[in-house]
């Protein structure tokens, strides 16, 4: 029983970041029909900026939590600026063009790989502990940092869910995802809504990056791993589906946790792929996908 609670807690911790990450992917796909491989780099930039600034700020005499908040704000701002530039000068011209936008995103991935390696160097960075200590919940040991991560991630997912359901912007996003031409005829400003959708998705990725920095080792290639898992999560859940992304992320995290506990963690990558194939055999559009 103890083991199950601990495994469940681990699943939620890993899954929390996947949820944030894949919500962005599914939002961008839903609104713009774009497969955005740059998402991993927007995530990585935020994590890298936090890992870069934090030791400097702490060294300058700031308390660790305050330094973390400042560094995170900077990281998220840099990532959002990057997202805005990428949208305005690139993806804006490739909406609903699956192949074209994908090729552009691959080009940007390679380009940013080169840039990040230049700016931050290839070395992995460790980030000092922000919130020390751990708590005991129903017999499972969870560090306070991880608990904080989970809390923020699920809070953000909740806010997004509420925004999509209850605000004017959310309704516009859903209308555009459902049928963008009909939405435009109803007076939804598609170009502006798509831009907002892209920024919200980038914001989610940036928050995920800032959250992961203190609990993981940060390197310029950190995004690729999350990109693979995030896309698998949205394939399982159904591209464009918000509940699908959440469900798929938790599913992937569960397989990874169980695989890592009972076998070797690298077998989890193969197990997850097998899972995708099984899902596709029965539901070619994912569990929550629309035909």
């Amino acid at each position: 029983m103890q083991t199950f609670i601990q495994l469940g807690a681990t699943t939620l911790q890993i899954g929390a970041v996947y949820v944030l990450f894949s919500l962005g992917l599914t939002l961008i796909f839903g609104v713009m029909r774009i497969v955005n491989f740059v998402h991993g780099h927007i995530f990585a930039v935020a994590a890298l900026v936090v890992a870069y600034l934090l030791p400097i700020l702490v060294g300058g005499g700031l308390a660790a939590p305050a330094a973390y908040v400042v560094a995170s704000a900077c990281g998220i701002a840099v990532s959002l600026a990057l997202g805005a530039i990428i949208y305005l000068f690139g993806f804006r011209y490739f909406q609903r063009d699956l192949v074209g936008s994908f090729i552009l995103s691959i080009g940007l991935v390679l380009l940013l790989d080169g840039v990040l390696l230049h700016v931050f160097g290839g070395a992995v960075r460790g980030v000092p502990e922000i919130f020390p200590g751990s708590v005991n919940i129903a017999g499972a040991q969870i560090t306070v940092q991880r608990l904080f991560l989970c809390g923020v991630a699920f809070l953000m997912a909740g806010i997004l869910y509420w925004t999509l359901g209850h605000t004017k912007l959310g309704r516009a996003l859903r209308a555009v995802a459902y049928d963008h031409e009909a939405a435009m005829m109803m007076g939804v400003p598609y170009a502006r809504i798509a831009f907002f959708g892209f920024l919200i998705a980038s914001l989610l990725a940036a928050i995920a990056g800032a959250l992961i920095a203190p609990v993981s080792i940060v390197s310029p290639v950190i995004g690729t791993d999350y990109l693979i898992k995030g896309f698998i999560a949205v394939i399982i859940g159904g591209l464009g589906s918000v509940p699908g992304a959440i469900l798929g992320s938790l599913f992937v995290a569960l397989v990874e946790t169980l695989g890592g506990y009972y076998f070797d963690s690298s077998y989890a990558a193969i197990a997850i792929f097998a899972l995708v194939i099984v899902v596709l055999l029965f539901r070619p559009k994912g569990m929550m996908g629309r035909a």
Partner: protein
């Protein structure tokens, strides 16, 4: 089947390429030429699947399967090297047909992303098999010593034969069915074409070529490791297709020649491969959406469309 002008241009280009592969003596230049030939084959294979409207991102995994199969047969079973490459290609084609039979039920973004996931899963799988050398990979994959001076010629000749088959397939009825599948699969089905079989055959042949490319890669490099076959290999192949121009058969080949030469040249100055490829893709996608071949074709005065409107309708 081939028109006389294309026969002549094929003879000229193939002859020049083969002559170059025989004349080059510098070891570094020979390795660059091998890399260009293998890259061109991958790019054309990727474009062949694009003819039916799908992006085969699993191509990197199939190159890896071919390379590992050829390497294992050569080092552990002492199969003659040309036979090892051939069996590796055929084996890869069979595996890809099974892969296609499952994944081609999905389309577009799903197919693309499954290929991406497959590539990464297979890469983890190699590193788990001790017989394949684990994470550090396989070493000592050599062609016979007598073959060594002829290797660039052998690679080039193999690649040219496969390119010619791709070319003939594209110009044949098979190619027309692929165009039909891309434009409107339902219409192709409505006239009694079993599009699913065509799609699997397309993947199988494209990946047969990818497997051969992998076998050649193994014997040219002598060393292979799981890191060689990441999704970046597919991304690079996509760069060749896009920079050269995807509307024309020779586009990807030109793209491979240009980008591989450029990166080999700039590596001498400490240039970064990712940066060059990424920059080239972004610039071309934003500025020359039809690639280099498309840009050249645009500069020429437009000829009247005599050869029927069919082709014009296919260009979007």
């Amino acid at each position: 089947m081939l028109k006389s002008t294309s026969t002549i241009s094929w003879l000229v280009f193939a002859g020049a390429a083969l002559l170059l592969s025989l004349l080059l003596q510098d070891l570094y230049l020979r390795s660059v030429l091998n890399l260009i030939a293998i890259s061109a084959l991958l790019a054309v294979s990727l474009r062949f699947v694009m003819l039916m409207g799908e992006l085969n991102f699993a191509i990197a995994a199939f190159v890896g399967i071919g390379a590992y199969a050829a390497g294992y047969m050569s080092t552990a079973m002492e199969v003659p090297f040309w036979l090892a490459i051939l069996i590796a290609g055929i084996g890869t084609g069979i595996v890809s047909a099974a892969f296609g039979a499952v994944t081609l039920r999905a389309k577009g973004p799903y197919f693309l992303l499954i290929g991406f996931a497959f590539t990464e899963a297979i890469r983890v799988a190699y590193s788990k098999v001790p017989a394949l050398g684990g994470t550090s990979g396989m070493v000592g994959i050599f062609p016979p010593i007598a073959m060594d001076p002829w290797m660039p010629f052998f690679v080039m000749a193999t690649v040219i034969v496969l390119l010619l088959i791709f070319f003939i397939l594209e110009r044949s009825d098979f190619g027309r069915v692929l165009f039909a599948i891309r434009e409107k699969e339902e219409v192709a089905r409505s006239v009694g074409i079993n599009t699913f079989i065509y799609k699997i055959a397309t993947i199988a042949f494209a990946c047969f070529a990818a497997g051969i490319a992998g076998g050649l890669h193994a014997f040219v490099n002598n060393v292979i490791s799981p890191g060689d076959f990441s999704y970046l290999m597919a991304a690079f192949a996509l760069a060749y297709v896009k920079v050269g121009g995807e509307d024309h058969f020779f586009g990807p080949i030109l793209g491979a020649i240009f980008l591989v030469s450029l990166s080999a040249y700039s590596l001498g100055f400490g240039g970064d491969e990712h940066f060059i490829y990424g920059g080239a893709i972004v610039l071309v996608v934003l500025l020359l959406p039809k690639g280099a071949v498309g840009a050249i074709a645009n500069m020429r005065p437009k000829k009247a469309h005599v050869k029927g409107g069919g082709h014009a309708a296919l260009e979007q």
